[in-house]
């Protein structure tokens, strides 16, 4: 199951050139870039791990691609996300974020039904990957 999140989630995965083009756009806007990774694909998981510090004062996308390459090498089997932060006054928020790497195999999600009083049902989703403890997921 192909996990989608963030900007461009409707597109096929971006190539490195396309990622560089997005980064170039962010840099011309003066946004800072940041890389994060995780092995917990739940859509409500907002606690991704940071790959180093956010990158400030860059002039060229090559720098971000360089870090992305290092992050991929260190975490070949995790999700990696690139986000851009606009620090300008009044904005101060994430302006763009998209997935730049997925694990080779993504088992997807299970739908759980919780039946309770009066035949009511609550639904929740459960990522199969989280059957394994953190750090041991997506290893095939």
């Amino acid at each position: 199951m192909h996990l989608t999140q963030g900007t461009f989630s409707y597109l096929p995965p971006l190539t490195d050139e396309e990622i560089a083009a997005q980064v170039r756009y962010c840099l011309t806007r003066g946004w800072s870039l940041n890389l994060e990774f995780t092995d917990d694909p739940h859509p409500r998981n907002v606690y991704w791990e940071m790959w180093g510090l956010p990158m400030f004062d860059l002039q060229d996308p090559a720098a971000v691609l360089h870090e992305l390459q290092r992050c991929r090498q260190a975490h070949p089997d995790k999700y990696i996300k690139l986000s851009a932060f606009d620090r300008s006054k009044g904005r101060q928020t994430t302006t763009l974020s998209f997935i730049v790497q997925r694990p080779p195999e993504e088992p997807g999600f299970r739908l759980d039904r919780l039946e309770y009083a009066d035949r009511q049902i609550k639904y929740t989703i459960y990522p199969y990957a989280t059957d394994e403890p953190a750090g041991k997921r997506y290893r095939h």
Partner: protein, 294 residues
């Protein structure tokens, strides 16, 4: 032979619109006093790049030229100034995407504790990508007396990036010639990755006077006749002192002359002419401390 013949045909390589590189080179020739050997080398490097571009357009592919450089010379001989122009030349010819220059020294690259150096060096390298990284007094990265010094870690990361990111960044090392030679002896990897060595000679007294004239002109000041003579005298004394730093010392001296001129004018307590506002007089120079010791 037949390849040559076909090349001498009418088929000449159409010159792309001039990216303005000769204008930058010409400006460097005009605006910088002296430095003849440096100017020649800059022209050579620019020619090499122009031809490399044309060759690629004509389908003659070859390894892209290596661009890392080393600028040696005493302080104030124009290394930083020329590096800035070099960044512009590289940018105009498309060998540097942004053409900005990040100037750093040991403290910007090397950390204080285990694990601090690599992120610090990488941070700087990332900021320099797309442009030029200028490392002043690069030999301080290597401390032979301490084999556990973190500088070596920084050098290794630098070497890696100089090799693997040739399209992304040009590194210029700068410093005194003799210390740089020693540094290269103990870091042959660094030496082998540097293609261009430029040596910046010290300025002669006459060149320093011309530099002073140029700086004054840019500030819309000038020397009076007697002041120019006094300045020659000043230079001869100043050049013998240990902390003499070529054109930088001239710039600092001019700042002090301006201070003394301003004070002299204010103390006159009367309306001043445009000329009086411009002219540095001999007495503004002769009050300098260099004239106290003989």
């Amino acid at each position: 032979m037949s390849q040559l013949e076909s090349a001498t045909d009418t088929e000449t390589t159409a010159l792309e619109p001039d990216p303005g590189v000769w204008e930058v080179v010409g400006r460097l020739d005009r605006e910088l006093v002296g430095l003849a050997p440096v100017k020649t080398r800059v022209r050579e490097i620019a020619s090499l790049l122009v031809i490399d571009r044309l060759r690629r357009q004509a389908g003659l592919t070859s390894e892209p030229p290596s661009l890392h450089m080393c600028f040696t010379g005493s302080p104030g001989t124009g290394k930083t100034t020329v590096a800035l122009r070099m960044a512009e030349i590289l940018h105009r010819l498309g060998y540097s995407r942004k053409g900005h220059l990040i100037s750093v020294s040991r403290d910007d690259l090397v950390g204080q504790y285990v694990g601090h150096t690599a992120p610090k060096t990488r941070e700087v390298l990332k900021r320099a990508m797309g442009g030029v990284l200028f490392i002043d007094e690069a030999y301080y990265l290597h401390r032979p007396e301490n084999e556990r010094d973190y500088g070596q870690e920084s050098i290794e990361i630098l070497l890696q990036v100089m090799e693997n990111h040739r399209d992304d960044l040009v590194v210029i090392l700068a410093g005194y010639k003799d210390r740089m030679d020693t540094f290269f002896q103990s870091n042959p990897g660094m030496k082998s990755r540097i293609a261009h060595h430029l040596d910046f000679p010290d300025f002669t007294e006459e060149e320093l006077v011309r530099i002073a004239d140029l700086m004054l002109e840019q500030l819309m000041y000038c020397f009076s006749e007697s002041a120019r003579q006094a300045f020659g005298d000043y230079l001869r004394r100043r050049m013998r002192q240990p902390q003499f730093a070529n054109a930088r010392s001239v710039r600092n001296a001019i700042d002090r002359f301006r201070l003394r001129q301003a004070r002299r004018l204010v103390e006159m307590g009367r309306p001043l002419s445009r000329e009086e506002l411009m002219v540095i007089d001999a007495e503004d120079i002769l009050k300098s401390r260099v004239f106290e010791v003989t």
